[in-house]
Symmetry: C2
Subunit: 518 residues, 2 copies
């Protein structure tokens, strides 16, 4: 189906995607300008965040990219199975939590968790996600001018050639952007019905879980587990290591970690850290999970619902076979800081190259490949970045932890809320949307900490639990890298009541020649 | 009551403040170190945001400040009657709005606005606010080391001397920080019962309003009006000028304004712009308001509740009489950029010096006075700052509007969400906590716009409706002043789904040599 000469609106794209999904349309969706004789500068194999942003950047620079994807939409797993449903679940978790704590007070009715359904929310997402898909297709074509072939499996033939449907396309460069999927650990019984990963959860769940066991301690474990628990589905996390202390998260401050994990437990989640999942029990459908706890005891957890949250792996076998690209020790594609693989002219981006499996990384390595392909040498530094996850809170952090800063700089100061040494929780909200808590349960409004190198007076780390600070941490990351000091922070214009109070707390100390904790 | 040698915790401070409020304690609360023979560098008359931060800064620099306040707590009107209840109301407005739109879906019960009470929320605030007061007293004494005398009226004797209770204190400088109160316009009937301003609303409301008329179009009008309406109290705003276009708000983008005001109307608020309030009707208690609308027609609005939101004025008569300080044309104290009044050695800070009546301004002019008093020449630039207000949304803006930027730079580009030219609302949440809306009513998730000078590629304005961006706008203000470009924004690390999408939208355009709108 050639679409290059027509302009489809959101409603039309949505209808077309739906027709693909129900099998009414099987042919590729082709948005290629046949009248353009220019050669392809790059073919992006995979149109998720990395491929789509890379192609858009290359096009903006004056190049000609082609994006191919097996799905009938661009944007990849994010709007289809990953970040978007995760945020929908996390918003629900926060709201359910709010309605529980306030149950029976003010205008809040008695909270009845029998009305909170995991299946309902997944159904809502499933029925609505095509609108986001439609937007991606529309924006990429109409606003970004990027050509693409969708709903067609691509076969990489060599380092310049990709076959898609009936066509064969040749480009100066290939950019591999085929993503990753949940790694399925070798646990007996893992193929039983009722065992899901984040993708199959969206596609296949067709009953309301009553109890949940999560295998793994990743962000997905914490995020989805907090949602399940908030709906009233009793949830247990089986994690091999302490939550937030695994290798995939860097710079997690211990005070922040304690606030977050104890908050999960206070909301009824069972967290077994340092545990091993031994077996998924049941006939066809999961009925229980056998596990060994940190103290060596074996337990059996009754459950009708298991979520695997054990991290992700890329599907690279085909690429290794065809192109001979090298992988790292974890199976991800090895790239340099310009996103070049071991094969000349072939780049790899996104989840295919490993952690962090985050949106900014995907998009920025797409951009990095594009710039290098277009002759502008550009390297991507992934050594420092802000990070976040959700429980019933939004948790954000950037820079160094207090302990890391102390080890690196020796003399540091910490400003935090609540401060140390108080006899009771302070009634100031430490995050957005926690003002009611401030008057009823001040101990749960949030937590925040900023760490400064006492000598240079530079901000070196910031940590926040609660809502409303995530957006700011993007800019704090930039400012930390540029060496922002407590003095400069103290001269900024805060918007009170700000979710984090770093500016005004800095101002309370900035007058000091020798800085002190606050 | 001398408190300097004891350490009171939050609970003890709270109890002491309560005993003052019920008249059990009438004496001044004195936190002065009598063993310290150092002279006072400054007396801060008024311990609100401006006075308290000024004193803290001066102390941090090694000086000796004294703060005096007639209330038994520091922090001023913010935690007592102003910003804190405003944020409590705005959180309630957002939450009530959310529960209305989602009424009867998912886990949300049928929304019953008979359970939403203005009086209940005010009572909750009133009974809890002393904890915030207690924290201010504790922090100022124990963490900041600032001396003070509370619960005592201060009388300014001359430019070095203040009498407080039985004592007379002399200092090198005076810093006047006595704040402002709602300006009461000359409208017949304005003294009737049932007519409130933001302060008396907190202190005196003792019935549940059924209908509300707000006189004035200030931030307070929009913020409190949106809350009243959200509780089910039918609210009408009578504003002399279009909302958000008054002289007290700068740089309000017209698209943002339209989204905000039409959103208020969509939620049932009646807004009469360009109207005049003629008379408050009723016997002892207000029963109605007579007004003239923009078209000249006179109407009478039935109501049992009127809120005055006509801006603020300082109480300066005493200061003029005693010190002879000069006022500006609006009655605010005239100061230079160092916060010096017309009288040598006398500074003025906070709401006393006029708009913006915002927290950052109060605190920063306190700091400015402190630095100059301590011999460090320092000027405060209030020409550009970020701003915000609440409806059922949080609305934030910084820098120039699209139109201002066009007039100043000629060639500009705009990136915005939703984009122009779409046939239907996009299902991407444009603010925090709006993911459910994205799947049910995408037209109300939010609005965002960033404006760039096309030639220099610099960000010159940013505008957002929705929640979650306020914290970030503090740092965007700083970055705009430092000349951040679309290229630098595009290289930052976004935390997706970010409430505003400026980083990733910048990246979609930054590759272009000649920039285009998005």
């Amino acid at each position: 189906m050639q679409l290059n000469n027509v302009t489809l609106g959101i409603a039309e794209w949505r209808d077309l995607i739906r027709r693909v999904e129900i099998g009414e349309v099987r042919e590729p969706l082709v948005n290629i300008d046949d009248s353009d004789a220019a050669p392809w500068d790059a073919i992006f194999v995979g149109g998720g965040a990395a491929g789509r942003f890379g192609a858009a950047y290359l096009k903006a620079m004056g190049g000609r990219p082609l994006v191919v994807d097996r799905w009938p939409f661009l944007g990849g797993s994010c709007p289809h199975q990953a970040c978007v449903p995760h945020h929908l679940f996390s918003e629900a978790a926060r709201e359910l939590d709010y309605m529980r704590w306030n149950s029976g007070t003010l205008w809040f009715p008695k909270f009845d968790d029998s009305t909170a359904s995991i299946l309902d929310l997944i159904s809502l997402f499933r029925s609505g996600r095509a609108a986001a898909h439609a937007f991606m297709n529309w924006q990429t074509k109409e606003q970004l001018g990027v050509e693409y072939v969708l709903n067609a499996e691509a076969t990489v033939i060599d380092c310049h050639t990709v076959n898609v449907a009936d066509g064969s396309y040749t480009a100066r460069n290939l950019v591999l952007a085929t993503g990753a999927q949940t790694a399925h650990p070798r646990i007996p019984g893992i193929r039983k019905r009722g065992v899901f990963d984040f993708a199959s959860l969206i596609e296949d769940l067709d009953y309301e879980p009553t109890k949940c066991v999560i295998v793994g301690g990743s962000k997905v474990a914490m995020e989805y587990g907090s949602f399940f628990q908030a709906t009233g589905c009793q949830t247990t996390i089986l994690s091999r290591s302490p939550l937030m202390r695994g290798t995939s998260l860097h710079h997690v401050d211990e005070d922040l970690r304690i606030f977050v994990v104890s908050g999960m437990r206070a909301r009824g989640l069972t967290v077994h850290e340092d545990s091993a999942t031994l077996e998924i029990l049941g006939d066809e459908h999961v009925e229980g999970v056998r596990a060994r706890l940190a103290d060596g005891a074996e337990i059996v957890l009754d459950t009708d619902f298991v979520l695997l949250a054990t991290g992700e792996l890329p599907a690279t076998a085909e690429l290794v076979r065809t192109l001979g690209i090298e992988l790292d020790e974890h199976g991800f594609v090895e790239v340099d800081t310009q996103m070049r693989t071991s094969v000349a002219g072939v780049y790899a981006v996104g989840d295919l190259i490993g952690s962090p499996l985050e949106m900014f990384k995907a998009r920025k390595c797409g951009m990095t490949a594009a710039r290098n392909i277009m002759g502008e040498p550009y390297t991507l530094d992934l050594s420092q970045y802000p990070d976040f996850l959700h429980t019933t809170y939004e948790v954000t952090w950037v820079g160094l932890t207090e302990q890391e800063a102390r080890e690196k700089y020796g003399e540091i100061i910490v400003i935090q809320m609540p401060p140390n040494g108080l006899d009771q929780p302070i009634p100031l909200p430490l995050a957005e949307g926690s003002m009611l808590y401030a008057f009823t349960r001040p101990e749960i409004t949030g937590y925040q900490k900023a760490v400064f190198d006492a000598r240079s007076r530079r901000l070196v780390g910031a940590h926040h639990v609660g809502f409303g600070a995530k957006d700011a941490f993007q800019y704090l990351d930039h400012l930390i890298k540029r060496g922002i000091t407590i003095d400069e922070l103290g001269e900024m214009n805060e918007l009170f009541l700000n979710p984090e109070h770093f500016i005004q707390l800095s101002r309370l100390r900035a007058g000091q020649h020798a800085l002190h904790d606050l």
